[in-house]
């Protein structure tokens, strides 16, 4: 499997007046055209890892890495202008809640068309046609009507499908999905995931799926990284997640309720201060 993205020793720091918060502490991994899950609790650095790949860490945050390469292109060496040509066009990102990630005063169709026009030299009419096709591809029944709708007029599930359409319309090579279904109803979660999965497979894209939902990641991804306190503590194939050995992963698994094996009292995850000090592992393949 050829390497699409390789990340080596990635750090994200936030400099405050009194202290420095290290959100990501030396993460290394590679990604092919596969579906890679990143799991971890809040604050484990998984979202920041996603944003750092796009070089979207804003001051007072800063990022550094020994290597950040997309298909042989050194992303660290690019100017901001060159980086903009990568964003959307080669790497895209879907965020958690469409209620906040769509611009409330712009028609959703225009937002999709804009994403297309940012990288393709086409006129308005052509971008509109492409946006309508994309709305159709994410299984929106009445694309013409939805094109002219504003974000507050669509439901959460539809909003997230619009986000997917917007982020996939320039046909990127890599999609980062940052908790794409966490804000949705359980009933529409699977539907949205299925649509995303289908498109990612069809276009042969790489996917980084960031989530705190172990079961979801295990069933949806090929490979899983487990992050804790800014480091990768464990990596394994998704279907072997239940064989994970790191005590943190074991703790996470043990705290999940299982329908076929009810327990009177769910285990509470005990965090060991020593985990923080351990070096992370290199998840390159």
């Amino acid at each position: 499997m050829s390497t699409l993205l390789s990340v080596e020793d990635l750090w994200v720091r936030f400099r405050g007046p009194n202290r420095v918060v290290e959100a990501v502490r030396g993460v290394s991994f590679t990604l092919g055209r596969e579906r890679l899950g990143i799991v971890g609790e809040s604050g484990s650095g998984k979202s920041m890892t996603g944003r750092a790949i796009l070089r979207l860490i804003r001051p007072p945050g800063e990022m550094s890495a020994r290597r950040l390469e997309l298909d042989g292109t050194d992303l660290l060496a690019l100017t901001e202008r060159q980086m903009r040509a990568i964003r959307g066009h080669r790497i895209s990102m879907i965020m958690q809640d469409p209620k906040f990630s769509l611009n409330p005063v712009v028609r959703v169709g225009e937002q999709i068309a804009e994403a297309y026009r940012a990288h393709a030299r086409v006129d308005r009419r052509e971008a509109r046609v492409r946006a309508l096709e994309m709305l159709h591809a994410v299984q929106i029944r009445d694309p013409e009507r939805v094109y002219d709708a504003y974000p507050h007029e669509v439901s959460g599930g539809m909003g997230q499908r619009i986000m997917i359409a917007m982020m996939l319309v320039p046909e990127p090579d890599l999609l980062i999905a940052d908790e794409p279904t966490s804000a949705l109803d359980v009933t529409v979660q699977m539907q949205v995931l299925a649509i995303m999965d289908k498109l990612v497979r069809e276009k042969g894209m790489g996917l980084i799926f960031i989530s705190h939902d172990l079961n979801l990641v295990a069933s949806f991804c090929d490979r899983v990284l487990i992050m804790y306190a800014g480091r990768i503590v464990e990596t394994c194939e998704a279907k072997r997640l239940h064989e994970a050995r790191h005590p943190y992963t074991r703790g996470l698994l043990a705290s999940l309720p299982q329908i076929d094996k009810p327990v009177p009292r769910l285990a509470v995850l005990e965090r060991d201060a020593a985990w923080r000090k351990q070096g992370g592992i290199d998840a390159s393949v």
Partner: protein, 355 residues
């Protein structure tokens, strides 16, 4: 009554057809405007009654006999019940009669038609200056938050906020008129140009252009530029400050990250995405600041000998010219209501959530 099929469909859903819905919303707005207007008139009416000034005495003079006094009182309708008086007052106002000013001995309507355009001219240019400079300054300050340019813009705003306007006015006159001679002095126009162009709108800038008198137009510009800049500076201070804080709020929103993920330029992120959302609350800010200036800024008008509505009402108040005070208050109130209505309509235009 016959019911057309498409009408029936709408009724069945329990909703009126769209055009009727917007019509009824418009009617609702108009009704509330009318009610506000009547409330305003009630207040001015009460002001006219509770002021310790005898309106009859003001007309007949102190030495009139009791018979004349009584006859005048009757003629003015002041012996009728108060509610009837209010009704008569409303009738007069809606027929455009605001009474006669005791100070100028002219109908108040005429007086206001003369002074209000002067204020309108000044306030409009000041608001244009404040908006055209204040909005970009606020945006720039927000984008460069914490940097030198932000500090400078905030200092400029703070200065405009905290300097008394009469001091700014006097200093402006001293420096730009007295010492540098860049602008003309107080007044709307040089004396020898006075009364040449026919008054159409009452605004000299517009009237001189309509008459094709370029010299007069530029003379008027040289007179208005200093007071308008000073008032404009004041509204700039307010508008840039509000723009900065609205912009900072919007730049922290998630849809801004989305826009950056798409690969848009910083310019597009700020002006195409954030600015459209900043515009929503900014409309109210600009409208209120404009309405405040339209009330007439007494200090500026006095310093620059500007015959506007602020100094007109103040003079009238000081000489107990109640018709003029009430008339002026009504006009200022009506303008306020009008601008609020207009900003509400604009608001609906830019924010789809408010429709």
């Amino acid at each position: 009554m016959t019911v057309l099929p498409h009408e029936e469909k709408h009724r069945r859903r329990g909703q009126p057809p769209p055009f009727l819905a917007s019509l009824s919303r418009l009617a609702g707005t108009m009704l509330s405007v009318l009610l506000t207007m009547i409330g305003l008139l009630a207040i001015t009416f009460i002001i006219g009654r509770v002021m310790p000034i005898d309106p009859v005495l003001a007309v007949v003079g102190e030495r009139a006999s009791p018979e004349i006094y009584e006859a005048t009182r009757k003629a003015m309708g002041l012996d009728r019940p108060i509610i009837v008086q209010f009704g008569l007052y409303l009738r007069d106002i809606f027929s455009g009669d605001l009474g006669t000013s005791t100070l100028t001995a002219r109908p108040v309507t005429e007086d206001i038609a003369r002074v209000f355009p002067a204020t309108l001219e000044l306030a409009t240019i000041a608001t244009l200056i404040g908006t055209l400079l204040g909005v970009p300054m606020g945006v720039l300050a927000a984008v460069k938050q914490g940097r030198l340019v932000d500090q400078i813009i905030r200092l400029v705003g703070l200065f405009g906020y905290s300097m008394p306007i009469f001091w700014l006015g006097l200093m402006g006159l001293l420096v730009f008129y007295g010492i540098l001679g860049w602008v003309s002095g107080p007044g709307r126009i040089d004396v020898y140009y006075d009364g040449i162009v026919p008054s159409v709108t009452g605004m000299i800038l517009v009237d001189s252009l309509l008459a094709g008198e370029r010299d007069i137009f530029w003379n008027a510009v040289s007179h208005i530029v200093l007071p308008a800049s000073i008032l404009g500076y004041y509204s700039l201070a307010y508008i840039s400050r509000m723009t900065r804080s609205f912009m900072l709020e919007q730049l922290g929103q998630e849809y801004i990250i989305t826009a950056r993920v798409k690969g848009l330029s910083e310019w597009a992120v700020i002006w195409r995405h954030a600015a459209r959302n900043v515009l929503v609350p900014l409309i109210t800010v600009i409208a209120l600041s404009y309405a405040n200036l339209l009330e007439g800024s007494v200090l500026t008008e006095v310093i620059f000998a500007w015959p506007g509505i602020g100094s007109y009402i103040t003079t009238a108040l000081l000489s107990a010219d109640m018709n003029a005070v009430m008339g002026g208050t009504i006009v200022v109130g009506a303008v306020f209501i009008g601008i609020n209505l207009f900003s509400d309509l604009l608001y609906k235009l830019v924010d789809p959530r408010a429709r």
